[in-house]
Symmetry: C2
Subunit: 177 residues, 2 copies
DNA sequence: CAGGCCATGTAAGACGTTACATGATTTT
DNA sequence: AAAATCATGTAACGTCTTACATGGCCTG
């Protein structure tokens, strides 16, 4: 359900082809909702079949430029304001923590340290992303970039939290000796 | 892949039937990796077919008690020490933030406030969970409960972070006027 | 003996990944 | 002319959800 929304959301910002969207998925959207090429193209066909988007232009190499329809806008509104039917929260990382007693304590400590370093690197990566893109965040009314930056901030806080947490667990682990 | 691991992990703590595991999924595991009854039973059959678990006893009402095998232990070890092939991170909540410019600012603020309150409630729920269960966390060597508590702590920090973040975004939203 | 809990299973369909397949256009 | 990029599609397979289906055992 959510890939449909992610694609629709990108088309709501501006029209584009499957290929265009694919680039945006690889660039920014992957941080929020990754998708593969295969999935994206078939989703676009489904969206068009359901009348949520329509082909606005046909270009070279069979390029189909899509545009969101009124029905598509309505569907987006519905989804954005209805968090209750989101897919359930799943975290392989948390599951791994849950099972960390199955390996020797030393290895568990190494894993936690690796996790902390990875999170540090993610914070750095997101800082670069924040610096690199040319954000258009000046208007009176909050626009797409305002919320994209908010999402970016969320990612940074999440990873900072993870790094702190992992180091605290290591500390507790070591205070057992 | 990860449900297989979650089930295997529970059986590594102690043997049990599909029904037993289902109760554990509803109780604690759902916070980490939710699964449905249907999925669990078929996964157990697959695990047994692959020799990662085996039926250790058959009881009344066709009850099959499963026990992890050596191959199962090996598979668990392999998975726990290999985070690189985890499924990619997906968050409907973040996607929604990304698209929040599509609704009026007032509604967006309401959504963020609801999010903050939900996260507060989650922190409270997890505090209760921490208080309610009889944790066995006294041994020299960190056991399952040590890491289960660490996972619980992670959940609390995550939700505290989310609540703070949502309130900060609201503040930035309001400083626009 | 009725109702609740124990206990397991199947089937259909949506969602996601990997791999395969094809061809047009632009750049070097 | 070759290589890179643009551009879309299909097929197979695994995961997850929802709904349906069945029946045994225990308690009141």
């Amino acid at each position: 359900m959510s890939l449909r929304i992610a694609a629709l959301g990108l088309l709501a910002q501006r029209p584009g082809s499957g290929y265009d969207l694919l680039k945006q998925f690889e660039k920014s959207m992957a941080n929020v909702w990754p998708a593969t090429q295969s999935q994206l193209y078939s989703e676009l066909n489904k969206l068009a079949d359901n009348g949520l988007i329509e082909v606005s232009a046909v270009g070279a190499r069979g390029r189909k430029e899509y545009r969101i329809t009124d029905a598509g806008h309505a569907e987006l509104q519905r989804w954005v304001t209805n968090p209750q039917d989101d897919p359930p929260f799943r975290s392989a990382a948390l599951l791994r923590i849950f099972l960390l007693n199955l390996i020797p304590t030393g290895q568990a400590r190494v894993h936690l340290a690796t996790m902390a370093e990875y999170s540090d690197a993610e914070v750095a990566r997101l800082s670069e992303l924040r610096g690199s893109a040319d954000w258009n965040d000046s208007g009176e009314i909050p626009d797409h970039d305002f919320f994209a930056l908010a999402a970016l901030d969320y990612g940074q806080r999440l990873n900072a939290m993870r790094a702190d947490w992992a180091r605290d667990v290591i500390a507790k682990l070591e205070s057992r000796h």
